[in-house]
Structures are given as C-alpha cells and as structure tokens.
Amino acid sequence: MTGVQGLSVLTPQGRKILDGVDLDLRPGSVTALIGPSGSGKSTLAQALVGHLGPGLRRTAGTVEVRGHDPFTASGRAQIRGRLAGYLPQDPASALDPRRRVLAQLLTAARTAHPKTGREHRNQLVRTAIATASFDPNLLRRHPAQLSGGQAQRALLAWTFVTRPGLLILDEPTSGLDPGTAAQVQAAFTTLPWQPAVLVISHDHDLVAARADQILELDDGHRRVPAASPKLRQPQAITLGSRPRSVVLEASGIVIERGGRRLLDDVTLTVGTAEMIAVQGISGSGKTSLARALCGFAPPARGTLRVHGTQINWDAAVRARRRQPFIAYVGQDALAALNPHETVRRTLHRAMNAAARAGRPAGADPISDLALPQDVLDRTPARLSGGQRHRVALARALASAPDVLVCDETTAALDATTTSHILDALDGWREKHRTPMVLITHTPSVAARAGRVLTITGGRLR
C-alpha cells in the first residue's frame, strides 16, 4: 500500500506546512495535487521519498510506499530510484552536469534493475525515451546542451527507466509546448506497468482530463476541490497613446549548437512599454535567444542595439562599460538564486546595483508579486518552486532593467498567481515604460502580449 496518513510538517518557526494530510495512492490511478504556490505540494511529494526541506520537521503522521517507510534508512534505500520515481521541479538542476544523458539513464537502469544484462538495460532506456518523447539524437549530449523542455523529458525518461511503482511528477509539463505536453501526459497516464502516479500541476486541462482523483492543498490543509479558477479573459493591453519608439533592436542573430544552426538570421525589435511573447516547440532555441540577448551566451553572429547604440554581447562587459542592462529571468529559478543568501539581501543588492549603475530605482516588488512578507528572511531552499520564480522576477525588477526577458517565469504557477504576476508586469510596464519579452508555452499568457512571435525552423516570425 502506498500513501500518507495524518502527515504534519512544521517549519523551524512553527508554521504548519502540512497539517494532518491523508493521501491514498492506488496502483494504476493518477492523483493530481493542486493548490496555490507555497501551499505545501512539493513538501508532500518529497515526503513520499523521505526528504524534508532544510529545517522542516515531521511532527505527526506516517508515510508508506509499498510497505516501506521512507523515513528509515533501509526504507529510503528501497524506495529511492527503485520503488519510486521522482521528477523534481527544476529539471536542469537535477541532472548531473558532467555526464551525458545516456550514461545517466544507463546508471538509473542499473540501480533499479541490478541483475539484468546490458542488452535488457539498453532496451529499457530505448523504451523509456520513446515514452517520454525524448529525441534519441540528444542522448549523447551533456545536460547543459539541452533546452529546459528537453531536460525535463530526459528526467522523465529517467523515472520511466526505473519502472517505479510510484511515480511522482512535480510540474512535468511546465517547460513543454502544448503538443509535446499532450504526448507526455498521454504517456505517463498509460504506462504498461500501472504505477500509482502523483502529479503536481497547474495545468487545469491536464488535471481535468487525466486525473482519477484530485487533491487540493490550501495552506497545509486538504480541501475539497472547487471548480477550477479560470485565467482572467486574456486581453492585450495597449498602453498609453504616446508614440512607441524602438528600444531593443536585434538583427542577423545566428546561434549554433553542436554544429547545427539553431537560429538563422533572427531579427527582433521591441518598442517602449511593449510586451512581446516568443513561442516555439521545445528545443527550438527560445532560451538560447533569450540568453544571447541578456549577454550570457554570445551568438555566432548578429548585432544588438538598445536605444540606437550598439551594445556588447557579453553582460559583464556591458556592466563595465555602463551599457544598458537587459535582465534575464530564467527557467531554472533554483540555479538563478544564490543558495546562501536571504531574499531580503538578494533584493537589497539588486536595488544597490541599480543605484550604482545610475538606473532609476524601482518600487518594492515583493507585494506586487503576491509574495508574503515572511519570505524575506528565507533562503531559496526554504521557498516553494513558484515563490523562487517570483523572487527571481522580483530581483530582476528591483535592478531596474532597460529591457526585461522572462523565460517561462509563470510555468510553475497556478492560474491565480499567474494572472497576478502578469498584472504586476503590466503595471510595471505602464509606470517604467520597460519593454518586455516573455518566452512562454502557455497560450493564455501569450495572449496578454502585444505581439506573439513563433520560432519555426530557426526563424522567428
């Protein structure tokens, strides 16, 4: 039997993250876990593999996975990598950066099925990557050479390789375009060995179409699921009547990856206070484009002008020469935040940096982004996945960028929070006239942008 009885988890300050939660996971059924950002979803999922975040304490309740207790050392050894497969929220941080994907999948196969032959393990890996819609041509790559969505599917393949009786998927489709997301959903709900699946998702279509039971968490309590909240009717906001001048102008961008041309002669212009959305299937080069614009990975060719002056492709050089700052809010919020510092200091430093570089200081972004005030004294490890994304966004806003690029910032957030953040971005745009580029898979988010561009076959249209 697999499940949780009366589980209560407390923070060091005594706040209840989970309060007497019961959960029964039956083989072959899909359980959806929903609830607002920070409501304890990931804590509950991690408890199933015997992990608690830093400082958290279990005060009551039991957890059982096929008769093993994950809170004992021997139980954990049985459960992790064997009885349970876990897909974490920030997939790029979860893969070993120094080993190729294939090597990692074979290791997973050997851990879970130690007595099988090499041929059988290869077969397991082939089946798993096909089920996870992972392109076999990417097997020889290192994780850093994968896009966010590809890394997510590589990890999904990892969990399929082990053929676990319990499959825990934390936002499994957040980095995927709608087509691939549908394939992946179909895959993990129809697995031949009939595992119990626990899926955390903000995707209401996924939850409604695929889940056999829905568990909604609200502030650590189990709640009877209400009708799913709908995103506010999407509407593109046209701001003001002032003439819109071009702020960012990128032309002739060529980006190459692994000898292949990922983007070919891409041109992009963004005007004052304009918000544009960039779409494209997983692995089409959206993040590469964003990182190039923000000065983290220079393209092979291309020029970039901001306010008419050409600027350097290296962010550190831009800062040294006092050129405009293009802020990047990345896909992997765990990697983007310094694990050693509190949110308060992160934001404080960002504001200082803005003042130092002579950019106008922005307002306090914390309340704008619907973050509770008590996150200020926490380190990233003590934030929920959605909170981390919002802190990364708050840091970018606090440093008063000339252009803001957001890469899937709302993918890990529930509909209400997403809509709140988009409102905050609109407010910011109106006040500071900052142009914004949103990279998103979600059509309802893209609908809020003034223009929607799509990357197809290396071109941006």
Partner: protein, 273 residues
C-alpha cells in the same frame, strides 16, 4: 550538528593549543639545567622524568610547543589568505594569459620538495623561527591556490554569479556575497589538511634542528633527541609525539565539522523528534 559533538572535537585541540601557548610561563624551573641523571623515569620529583641530558621533561614539554604551534597556525592562516586571494584572483580575471601564467608558476613551485625549501630558507638565515614559518607558508600555498581556484571557477559560471555581474555589482560584492559563502566549506576543509602538513613540517624543522638552536625546547626535536632512551624513559618521546598527533588530527576534524555545518549539514530525513 549538535553543540556537544562540536565540543568533543574542539576540547582536545583547545587544550593542546592552550598548553603550548601558555606553557612556557608555567614551566617549573629551568629548561636547560640538568636536574638528575639522563633518562630517569617519571616520579614525584619530576613528573615526566628526565631527558637525554638529565633535564626536566615536564618543563621542556611545557616550553617546547609554543613556537611550533604558532608556526603551524601562522603558516595555515597566511597560506589560506594567499590561497584565497590568488585562487579567486586567477579564476575571476579576464586576462587569460596572466591567469594561466600564474597557475603554471604555482604548479612549478609545488614540484619543489617541501623539506628542500625548508633547508634552503633556514640555511639563508640560520636560527630564525620566523623564517621557518615563512618557508612552511610558501610550501603550502600552491595546494591552497589550486583547490580554491578550482572551486571558484565552478561558482563563477553559476547563473546567480552571471546575473550579479550583468546587473553591474562591484567585484567585491560578488566575492563577498556570491563566491565566499560557496568557497568557505572547501577552504575550511583544505585549511585543516594544510594545518596537519604545517604541524608536521614545523616538527620536522625542529627535528632537523632548523629554527632556534639546540638548548631551546621543541616538541619535534625532543622526539629525536630522546629516541635513544626509549627503554629507560619513553615519556620524553611519547608525550610530545601524542601532543602533536592530537593537535593535527583534532584540528583537521574540527575544521571538517565546521565545513559540514557551513555547507548546511546532511540531508534532513524527517525522523520524528
């Protein structure tokens, strides 16, 4: 990490360092004048007996640790400081050639045997304890630089460091907030290993008769001087040797503990309290 476990490691180290540092003031009687026949066993008159020249072993043990411990501590601290500055500096610099040249120079220096450096330095200015400390520092710097450089170049490519540099934060702020907290556990563990090496080298220097000359007491030299009388009175060899081992092992274990704590400790496993 419970406070108790930390004390278990801190106590012996603290005791040895205290004995070494305040010992010379506590030494009963002269450390150079003979008080009996050579290698008298310990007794009521002389707690640890006498050494090869009939001098009081207790007095010499108390007097013989200060130089050695201070040499080891100074060499470790100076080595860490130099290692941190050069390691972080070469990892951060944009001038690749300067960084590569610095690395090669450090590697070349690491290839020179430590004892050779000690002998050369000591023969240059004989009888100086400070020169011995400087030589030990110089010998240990290359290892520190390598490890700190490796760790820093890993941290410097993380998204949060890239972001801080893109925002236009000062180099000092990036080092203070983004790099040092990540380097600290490594630097502590590495400092522990170097302290063991520095203690050994300081004892070797005493053993070889480098630094302050013969009549002064030195734990390292005591081991050599009195090894001939192990059968009659083993204490003048065993006591300084044990003190050296406790100091070296205890200090590296203590720094390891601190490093684990800095790194956030082990994984929480949710045992009911």
């Amino acid at each position: 990490m419970s406070g108790l476990r930390r004390w278990v490691f801190a106590l012996p180290v603290g005791a040895v360092v205290t004995v070494a540092v305040i010992g010379p003031w506590l030494a009963p009687g002269s450390i150079t004048a003979p008080v009996g026949r050579p290698f008298e066993p310990g007794g009521t008159a002389h707690l640890l007996g006498t050494d090869v020249l009939g001098r009081d072993v207790l007095a010499r043990v108390l007097a013989g640790g200060r130089t050695l411990v201070l040499q080891a501590i100074a060499a470790t601290l100076l080595g860490s400081l130099a290692g941190l500055s050069v390691g972080i500096g070469t990892a951060r610099t944009c001038h690749r050639r300067t960084a590569a040249a610095g690395q090669r120079a450090v590697d070349a220096f690491a290839a020179v045997p430590a004892v050779l450096v000690l002998l050369l330095a000591a023969s240059g200015s004989a009888g100086s304890d400070v020169v011995v400390a400087v030589a030990i520092t110089a010998v240990s710097i290359p290892f520190s630089v390598r490890i700190i450089h490796e760790r820093t170049s890993r941290l410097i490519t993380t998204d949060y460091v890239c972001d801080a540099r893109a925002r236009g934060e000062s180099g000092w702020a990036v080092i203070r907030y983004d790099l040092l907290p990540g380097i600290a556990p490594v630097a502590l563990a590495e400092g522990g290993i170097r302290f063991v090496a520095a203690t050994q080298l300081a004892a070797t220097a005493g053993f070889l008769g480098l630094g302050a000359g013969a009549p002064t007491a030195n734990w390292g030299r005591m081991v050599r001087e009195n090894s001939t009388g192990l059968n009659a009175n083993p204490l003048p060899v065993i006591v300084p040797a044990v003190l050296l081992v406790v100091l070296a092992v205890g200090m590296s274990a203590l720094l390891d503990r601190l490093a684990v704590e800095r790194a956030g400790g082990l994984e929480q496993t949710g045992q009911l309290a």
